[in-house]
Subunit: 593 residues, 2 copies
């Protein structure tokens, strides 16, 4: 059975030594001193390890079941959900007005990593509710907010997001679900939605479905899509629950992983729905949630990688197999532990340097969201908008790869379900797909975000990296050689790729789009390189100040050195692929394949 | 439901245009003219598509079950196994003397790819039997051969290989299973073996277990391991089946994939065993099988990638989603097919160029085995020994990655089990682990094979590539630029890596071993680059000769261009990682992690 320990010390290091959050001029950040955040993270860590993680295997093994139209979650989920609600975790970063704790989004993200690492399928019930509640918060009328938010913030009622239909996922303009206006201002929603996470279950009194649908007679395609609130049970004027609405579960999907979450086919049969936001502006309403939702999925990539890594590391220390070629390390035992072997080290260092770098990247991204929303900083908003597809695509791709590497450490034991390592890869796999498949993230990055606001945000990013390198170039010769120079080189590769797109994408967009996936990955590497340069700097500062915890900071720097030397140079390969353009990619006609 | 069509045309192209097998001076190859091999492949393709593949999902869904000590295979497996036996497929490359068809190993490999692609879990019952029979063929007494081989070649009896124990996988020197000598020359085998593929089932009258065990009083560690034949039912002198032996199934493992194969915990309780080969030479006996077994697993990596690719391609052509940015391609439909999008193309071209390159690599490797065994060519034996870990490690890693990419094309539909794409990744995952985990392959390559016979074989490899480049440098300017130059560059990277190991591995082996995994991958890329250069040359020759099938050969060359431009340059990244040495990899003490 795998175990999980929340990486509190590492998160604290990022929050306070790297991001220095309590010094930031963002409303609410002044309260985030190290003692406070530590107390929150300790509690979150405790519930993660003690309540959520023990149910992770249970959820995978039992899955959800549909009986007579009712969905039952795995044994123990309901009781655990009560504990999460009672602890106030569901409304951590929601407004006090609706019963939330009004903490910044960065704290929701730090805690979210822990919950997701402990039990991704479980945490999705709360995660989807958060997404739906955020949409109502941003686009609902006061009456809608008053009706739904208090119950959703507490997760007394949960939420879902209904976008996909059998014939359309990415291309939502093809949507067929209809919303027919009624005399009382409501709509009758009819259609089928698929892949609806947390679609139905037995852990809440009501479920608030947010459903995209088309009002007949509206504009064609994506411009005619509106968003509706469709509660499972109609909410009466006094707030009590009325009739069951015309929404039912068609089936629960059999999936590769996240079995503990009920992924449902939802059938809407003249269900009563209430317009959320404006008519035909449904996509805009969804998109305001997108940055957060995608950052949340990127965070899942990190979370599964971290959880898998922790277990792989333990196994590598415990399992005795073979001898260190440079000299026996465990002379009293029958063999040395796996961790003595260089290729096992390579594998573990890949995982460790990814997880710690990714954590910094995610928390930095969350800080940008706070800066954009709480401090109304348009530059931060532009930058996080640019980086969102990178966070989502890169961190979930690499997060998945890392769970595969963790599984590999176990040899055959990684392939059997008994040890739990298969579940990490099976659960992590979905994050590359949902909330916009990673190929779509790459397209969003290269096709939209690069040129947004005249390319202002990507230029700001390069200026920031350049500024960092300039400012910190003379910290020490070693730091310059090990961190600044590799970061400069990688950033230069990224710029060269952007330049290639500009020069060759105009004449033929395929020259840019064929390289979009490589670009997303190289951008991710540069961001992690920047994070590692920042972390090494912060760690060195602690060492220079005579920290009593030197081992922690030395380890941090050594891990960063690994990333800069062994991982970051991937940018050169991505650049070389991009610079071959679209010709070899598009050479064949479809029927030549 | 996925489908599968055997790639007969492509296999024929490799056998006859690239390898030109019927011109080779290898006993048995003179019979392999194009009509003959085509007839064999057509039949094999038919049984793969029509008999084996329809059972692939069944096997995954039902799995095997253990009831009162008896293992039952999934519905339909037994009848299909009868068809495979009746068709003579189980003894394709086995000696006529024992009922086989005596075809070269290359034909067994070409057919094996098809069977594995159609149904890996099913094909393993036959594959393990082949491995066990080969061991008896190589090391058995005449009496043992006469007793077991005829029944095993026909798969009336199947076989297993028993190496792993709960506490030892790679490090078999830690083995505890005991073999106590009896007065009649037999042994009593006692111990537990785990992860035994095809360990027990209901499709054969008897199961011949080959079991590694230690004879008490023998040398310590790996040098005291012997190999034993332990039949499920004792075979009487007249060849009929006698008493049930002391071997039983402890349980069937719950695994991530290959559910249709019964992976068993096997308990040996004073089971009667017969020494195979010499006392304490069990590992040597196993190792003579290793090249073939590992090539067979590499072939599985290709097979799953090919099957997944075929389905992803169909889906990309059928699924309508979004519009081509360079102009609408399907004006009468609601959207264009996925295949118009550059990033989908990149993904498909990755898969296509891998599968076709890997097929050439595998068949070339199989030819080397034939050359080594049938023509007793020591150089071929040395070269295939060098390339075996590359074939196993590189092709299963990349094969797995490609199934993940194929799954990605399906978006959410790739994650639900209904479409069958999850099974390809879950089944492909095991090939990176069994028959020596890929990290062990890398260690074998760098730690043993590079220096074997004074480095003779790796030097021969480089000479061969150099010779090819020199010989074909002036075919055309385009060919030189697109194929020869990239191959030269990649080969140079590989040589530089080898040089780095020589110069830095002596002082500290960690400098070499930290780069072993990268080296294995770069070696794989160079081999696939060589294969593509050969295939493009052969295709061009057909075009120059005015082939009536120009589209096939043009597609082949275009696919090769993609590999050379977009995939092969990965060697530079691997080299740069290798050249950073072992310091960053080994920087942390185990307790610093």
């Amino acid at each position: 059975m795998p175990s999980y320990t929340a990486p509190i010390k590492d998160t604290q290091f990022i929050l306070h030594n790297v991001l220095k959050i309590s010094e930031k001029a963002i409303p609410g950040y002044d309260e985030l001193d190290a003692d406070f955040t530590n107390a929150v993270l300790e509690e979150a860590g405790k519930i993660s390890s003690e309540v959520l993680h023990p149910l992770n295997t249970v959820g995978d093994t039992e899955g959800c079941r549909l009986e007579n139209g009712v969905v039952y979650t795995p044994t123990g989920f309901k009781a655990a959900f009560e504990q999460v609600k009672e602890g106030g975790w569901t409304g951590l970063d929601m407004p006090e007005q609706y019963g939330g704790q009004n903490m910044p989004y960065i704290m929701g993200t730090a805690v979210g990593e822990m919950f997701s690492a402990a039990n991704q399928a479980f945490t999705m019930y709360q995660g989807l509710t958060h997404g739906a509640a955020s949409a109502i918060l941003a686009h609902g009328t006061d009456a809608q907010k008053d009706t739904y938010l208090p119950k959703m913030v507490s997760c007394e009622w949960t939420g879902t997001m209904n976008l996909t239909e059998p014939h359309c996922g990415t291309d939502l303009g093809l949507m067929r679900t209809k919303a027919e206006p009624q005399d009382d201002g409501s709509f009758k929603i009819t259609g089928q939605k698929i892949f609806i996470s947390s679609g139905d279950h037995d852990m809440a009194d009501n479920i608030i479905h947010l459903v995209l649908a088309k009002i007949p007679g509206g504009p064609e395609g994506i411009k005619g899509v509106s968003l509706f609130i469709v509660p499972k049970f109609i909410v009466k004027d006094d707030g009590s629950l009325g009739d069951r609405n015309g929404v039912s579960v068609g089936k629960i999907e059999e999936k590769m992983g996240i079995h503990g979450n009920s992924t449902c086919v939802m059938n809407y049969d003249s269900a009563t729905g209430y317009l959320l936001g404006s008519e035909h502006k449904g996509m805009r309403a969804m998109f305001t949630m997108m940055n957060e939702a995608r950052l949340g999925v990127g965070m899942q990539g990190l979370a599964q990688a971290e959880a898998a890594y922790q277990n792989a590391l333990e196994y590598a220390k415990d399992r005795l197999q073979g001898r260190d070629v440079t000299g026996v390390k465990n002379p009293d035992g029958p063999a040395d532990p796996l961790i003595v072997h260089p290729d096992i080290r390579r594998n573990l260092m890949d995982q460790k340097s990814f997880a710690e770098g990714a954590r910094a990247f995610i928390l930095w991204g969350a800080q940008m969201i706070d800066q954009a929303h709480r401090a109304e900083d348009k530059d931060a908003d532009g930058l996080i908008s640019l980086l969102t597809p990178v966070i989502k695509g890169f961190l979930t791709d690499l997060g998945y790869d890392m769970t595969v590497q963790a599984q590999q450490i176990y040899g055959g034991h990684g392939y059997i379900e008994e040890w739990g390592m298969s579940q990490y890869t099976r659960d992590a796999r979905i994050a590359m797909i949902y909330e916009g498949a990673n190929g779509v993230q790459a397209l969003d990055l290269v096709g939209r975000k690069l040129a947004q606001d005249g390319g202002k945000h990507v230029m700001a990013f390069f200026e920031m990296v350049k500024g960092f390198c300039k400012e910190n170039g003379d910290i020490s010769e070693a730091y310059s050689k090990e961190f600044i120079e590799p970061l400069k080189a990688a950033s230069k590769d990224l710029q060269a790729a952007g330049m290639y797109f500009m020069q060759n994408g105009m004449t033929n967009p395929n020259n840019a789009l064929s390289g979009s996936y490589d670009f997303m990955h190289m951008f991710g590497h540069v961001c992690l390189g920047l994070m590692w340069a920042e972390m090494a700097k912060a760690a060195q500062a602690e060492l220079d100040a005579g920290s009593s915890d030197a081992a922690f900071y030395e380890t941090k720097i050594a891990t960063g050195r690994y990333y800069m030397a062994r991982r970051l140079p991937a940018t050169a390969l991505h650049l070389s692929r991009i610079q071959t353009g679209g010709d070899t990619v598009m050479a064949l006609d479809a029927d030549q394949f």
